[in-house]
């Protein structure tokens, strides 16, 4: 795709020269930028790009994913009985995907100020630089718009005739302009309200959300589509949808298909026609000036609205009495374990790669649970939910949550700054096991306990509070099991390995053995769950085992620690 775009660019060499842009420079700059885009970590290629070696066909992957989403949208567009409502859904999906992609994926490109160090000292003209930036964004958008829109254009062409292809193309173009405007506006608001670092963190959360959306898009949505909604449902009657830009654009389509139209449709269609052009004007005049300046300060790591040293000192004081510090005192037995507990707490909150890899698990866990256990059980029968309430499906939820613990512990060893782990070797630590237990406890308290608590709460509300004994037994059983397996297989200190190694499998032995043993224990638990006295009796046994296992894990000596 890049080659095609660059060849098209070459066709306009004469034009570039006329407007004082050096076509050779333009070609060279864009060639490198597009190459770098292909090697960037995105939500689409995140797992693959964790490997250091160059992965070919990144662009193709992104385009295939967009085409796939486009097909999903087309399905709704074509099969919705009220076509304007279908188009509203289609454009909403498209605008959401485009906005999330722009924010999560392209922000890295926008805040990349290497141009200033690499290109500015070279004899490259200002106009060439400006045009290269605009074309870079346009190329990026082209690679998203074309694959997404082609299935839709074909679909409407077949169903509604060739003229509607032109209308849909026009509406998609309008939606692109509007999305750019809203993203631009969102950036400016965030840049004005937040410090550069906070801005980057928020972008990071968008990336996590997008990663989950991509996952949901191709795993879950097809199973959730309810054909009944598509039958004769007119979404234009729902007033709460009127403020949505996709509704304004769909109103233009509605005017062509459904006459006589309500006055509100005319109003929305007019807004839909005017807003994109107003947006171009605002982006080009008011917003872009501040935008470039603010973005530059982000890339430079500028202070922007950073707080003063005194305020930071106060924040530090507050942090010292934070939940992390206080809980470290409750759960950790000594200074070294506490130090690692707090380090793990902070690093897992701030490490971009950890968040991007681990946090989607928190979103996917309930989704998978619903998909695997709940949906199949509730289909086909109207009183399936009532039937479910009589059973003990909550046990699956308890044991399923173990994934959080396993993945958290497995990912803990990796860091983008793994070389900073030199300090472990310089400190006089007799028991590196305390490093392992300190970080393990942080994962339990920070991630596992809240998730498990929510599952227990949900189960208690749905199934009744008789589930409490099972919740406690599963909790301590899982802890004992995971810690026991960690004693046998998990000897890597936290944040000491590169993420590249994660892509080569990480600690598969630990994961498989834990899943196997916990699975066996889960089956045993399922079998005895009707004997309440036995369940209650086993709770202190498992709690004691978990405590002893943790103590033993803390005694791990240096000779067991794996560095390479």
């Amino acid at each position: 795709m890049n080659k095609i775009l660059l060849r098209i660019l070459r066709l306009f060499d004469g034009f570039w020269r006329r407007i004082d842009v050096n076509p050779d420079h333009l070609h060279t700059i864009l060639e490198v930028k597009l190459k770098m885009d292909g090697r960037r970590k995105t939500a689409f290629n995140y797992q693959r790009s964790a490997q250091k070696k160059e992965v070919k066909g990144q662009d193709i992957l992104v385009m295939v994913m967009m085409a796939f989403m486009g097909m999903g949208g087309t399905f709704i567009l074509v099969f919705f009985e009220h076509s304007s409502s279908g188009l509203f859904m289609y454009l909403s999906l498209w605008m959401a995907i485009l906005a999330l992609t722009l924010i999560s994926d392209f922000t890295d490109v926008l805040i990349d100020v290497r141009d200033n160090y690499i290109l500015l000292p070279r004899p490259v003209g200002g106009k060439t630089l400006a045009v290269s930036r605009i074309l870079h964004v346009l190329f990026y958008l082209t690679k998203l718009v074309i694959p997404f829109s082609i299935p839709g254009l074909i679909g409407v062409g077949i169903k509604f005739g060739p003229l509607t292809v032109l209308l849909l193309a026009f509406l998609i173009l309008m939606s692109v302009l509007m999305t750019i405007f809203f993203v631009n506006l969102l950036y400016l608001i965030m840049l004005n309200l937040l410090s550069p670092r906070r801005f980057k963190e928020i972008i990071n959360y968008f990336q996590i959300i997008f990663y989950a959306v991509v996952f949901l898009g191709y795993q879950i949505l097809p199973r959730l589509i309810d054909f009944k909604v598509m039958e004769g449902n007119n979404l234009f009657t729902k007033i709460y949808l009127w403020p949505l830009p996709s509704m304004w654009l769909a109103s233009i389509w509605d005017l062509f298909f459904y006459q006589p139209a309500q006055p509100v449709i005319y109003v929305m269609a007019t807004i839909g026609l005017v807003t994109p052009f107003l947006a171009i004007y605002l982006v080009g005049t008011v917003l872009s000036r501040n935008f470039a300046q603010k973005m530059f300060s982000i890339g430079e790591g500028g202070n922007g609205t950073e707080s003063s040293p005194q305020r930071k000192a106060e924040q530090h004081q507050r942090a010292q009495s934070s939940w992390a510090t206080r809980s470290a005192q409750w759960f950790c037995s000594n200074k070294q374990e506490r130090a690692m507990y707090e380090l793990t707490w902070k690093m897992t909150s701030r490490s971009r790669d950890f968040k991007l890899k681990f946090y989607p698990n928190l979103i996917m866990l309930p989704v998978y649970f619903l998909l695997i256990f709940v949906f199949p059980a509730t289909r086909g029968s109207d009183d399936a939910l009532q039937e479910m309430q009589q059973g003990n499906m909550y046990l699956f939820g308890f044991y399923f949550s173990m994934i959080i613990l396993i993945s958290g512990l497995s990912m803990l060893q990796f860091s983008e700054k793994y070389k900073a782990s030199w300090f472990y070797r310089t400190v006089p630590m007799a028991q590196p096991g305390l490093v392992l237990t300190g970080s393990f406890k942080a994962i339990i308290v920070k991630f596992y306990l809240p998730v498990y608590g929510l599952i227990t709460l949900g189960s208690g509300l749905f199934f009744g509070w008789h589930i409490l004994d099972d919740a406690l037994l599963a909790f301590f059983g899982i802890l004992a099991m995971v810690t026991g397996v960690a004693i046998l297989t998990h000897y890597v200190l936290p944040f000491t390995k590169s993420w590249d190694e994660a892509s080569r499998g990480g600690n598969i032995g630990f994961t498989l053995l834990t899943l196997f043993l916990a699975g066996l224990f889960g089956i045993f638990h399922y079998a005895i769950s009707s004997f309440n006295w036995l369940v209650w009796g086993l709770i202190p046994v498992c709690a004691l085992l978990a405590m002893l296992a943790m103590r033993q894990y803390g005694k791990t000596g240096w000779r067991y620690i794996i560095w390479e």
Partner: protein, 256 residues
């Protein structure tokens, strides 16, 4: 008097490649030792062994009478190590990083905070104490590294290129700090490519090349002629003196 650092017949292999050849050195307390050599000579490897970071070597190494191989933890309690590269978990603030290192040295939080604040204040990082290090320059990170190596008040300090990335004022300050530390009775092993600094502050200079000690003594003893500099001596002893020829060759590459 028993040497504070005693190295006897130290050899180190990376696979089949021998990087240290039978090195023997005895170092007395209260000195600045300039440990110099060309790239790849084995300086950092020696320092890593002395600091107890690498126990895969042949020979005997004792720090204050403690065998490094047998009791690396006891050694780590009395030494400070400042590595060459400023690799840090930069999502942490200097104070958070120093709290971590200090706690692992079994120091009390109050003492770590008080000492770290004062040290960083003197190094001009007072305002950045609670700022995350991902926006820090190389010099600022180097200062944090320096404090991390000194925080627990070690008796012996290993510094691998400690002036890397520092500005001129900071270089002067750190040189003065090193001199004062030695006046307090500490021993500093100082690895650097900056010959001028080594010449000026070292009580003893040890030059290694290809894993062997090729010169050992104070600068006055080592220099062959009046007016010699350590830089000149370094080039002579490491066998590279044809700089004119090389520079000429390089600049001639513009001509076809």
């Amino acid at each position: 008097m028993e040497p504070i650092i005693q190295i006897d017949n130290l050899s180190k292999f990376y696979g089949k490649r021998q990087v240290l050849h039978d090195i023997s050195l005895h170092i007395q307390a209260g000195q600045i030792i300039g440990y110099i050599g060309p790239n790849g000579a084995g300086k950092s490897t020696t320092v890593r062994i002395l600091a107890g970071l690498d126990d895969n070597f042949k020979g005997n190494v004792k720090i204050k009478g403690i065998d490094v191989k047998e009791n690396p933890l006891a050694v780590k309690r009395i030494i400070g190590y400042i590595p060459e590269l400023a690799d840090l978990y930069d999502v942490l603030t200097p104070m958070e990083f120093l709290l971590l290192v200090g706690r692992l040295h079994d120091m009390e939080d109050a003492q770590i905070e008080e000492r770290a604040s004062r040290m960083l204040d003197f190094l001009g990082l007072k305002d950045q104490l609670h700022e995350r290090m991902d926006t820090f320059s190389k010099g600022m990170r180097q200062k944090v590294l320096l404090v991390s190596g000194l925080l627990h008040n070690p008796e012996i300090i290993f510094m691998d290129e400690p002036l890397s990335g520092l500005d001129t004022n900071a270089v002067i300050l750190v040189k003065e700090i090193i001199i004062r530390l030695v006046e307090q009775g500490k021993t500093v092993i100082y690895c650097s490519h900056n010959m001028d600094t080594v010449e000026k502050i070292s009580d003893r200079i040890i030059l290694i090349a290809e894993g062997k000690v090729v010169a050992d003594g104070n600068f006055q003893e080592l220099k062959r002629n009046e007016g010699d500099t350590l830089e000149k001596l370094f080039s002579q002893l490491t066998g590279q003196t044809n700089f004119d020829e090389l520079a000429e060759g390089f600049t001639q590459t513009f001509n076809p």
